[in-house]
């Protein structure tokens, strides 16, 4: 079973990389980009076949390693 984890900085945490990307887009002439936030996508290939069990396992992985919940939030997509 495939799982995809999106890790993003929490709202309110300054994202200097996102800001640099926003500035670069402005420099290229793209107007109206009010904000850019940069995050990570992590794809997992799991042996687990039960959706609920897979989601629980990936949530534990996020809490223990994949995200730093002090500054980041995560979303999990299964299947």
């Amino acid at each position: 079973m495939k799982a995809r984890v999106h890790v993003m900085l929490k709202d309110g945490v300054l994202d200097p990389q996102g800001q640099a990307v926003a500035h670069a887009l402005g420099a290229l002439g793209f107007e109206g980009v009010d904000d850019v936030r940069q995050g990570k996508v992590i794809d997992l290939d799991l042996a687990e076949t039960d959706i609920a069990a897979a989601e629980a396992k990936v949530r534990e992985m996020c809490e223990k390693l994949l995200a730093n919940t002090v500054i980041e939030r995560y979303d999990i997509e299964i299947g």
Partner: protein, 222 residues
């Protein structure tokens, strides 16, 4: 007095830290990240600077989940001392032994230069060799030294006198100019600047030596 210095793939200040500990009088053992126990009778664990595991995922994240770090967490919970410098500070926040997190520098640039710090508390084994408010110069070399903490945590760190060092001219965007913090029991210090790189005359600056002298001196039986 026994010190252990952890070594991860990508550590590059481990030997410098061992020299600083040794020059201050410690008996130093290097400990590999795959070891699951610290040497018997270790008083202080040094977590060195560098780029453990290539800074993959987040700086310090993989190192913080290594077998030796589980032993470090137990050592600290038993009342042991730990000093994390640069990448070591990042590892300490990732283990949860110190609060907050270290993010990409606000200016996005890797900053490598001597910076001026203010000693913000002398109430710790690490800072008792300095005067309160003393201005010292210590090198920094990092890309992810921007200390981030919510307002209530910053207030708590201030109230509990746990900010050890502050930047005089903030090089990385850290909240409240924080360069180093102490744990609640004051036995764990994490800081981004490198005192081990300013610890003997050959370095051209010995402002960092007082930290090691105070730490090792206090833990050495008279």
């Amino acid at each position: 007095m026994k010190a252990a210095v952890l070594v991860f793939p990508g550590s590059n200040c481990d030997r410098d830290l061992a020299v600083a500990f040794r020059n201050a009088g410690a008996d130093v053992t290097m400990v590999w990240h795959k070891d699951s126990a610290l040497p018997e009778g270790v008083d202080v664990v040094g977590i060195p600077g560098g780029f453990s595991f290539g800074d993959y995922l987040r700086c310090g994240a993989i190192a913080a989940r290594s077998p030796i770090c589980r032993a470090v967490v137990e050592h600290v919970h038993r009342g042991g001392y730990a000093l994390g410098i640069c990448n070591g500070f990042q590892v300490l926040t990732e283990t949860g032994l110190l609060p907050g997190a270290l993010m990409r520098n606000a200016g996005l640039k890797f900053v490598c230069k001597p910076v001026d710090l203010t000693v913000s508390t002398t109430n710790s084994i690490f800072t008792s060799g300095y005067e309160m408010g003393q201005r010292i110069t210590i090198p920094v070399a990092h890309h992810d030294g921007n200390y981030v903490a919510p307002d209530d945590l910053v207030a708590r760190l201030r109230d509990e006198d746990r900010i050890a060092f502050g930047y005089c001219d903030n090089p990385n965007g850290s909240v409240a100019d924080i360069a180093g913090i102490l744990s609640e029991n004051r036995r764990v210090l994490g800081l981004m600047p490198h005192p081990e790189r300013a610890a003997e005359p050959a370095h051209g600056n010995t402002d960092g030596a007082a930290l090691f002298r105070a730490l090792i001196g206090a833990l050495t039986p008279a």
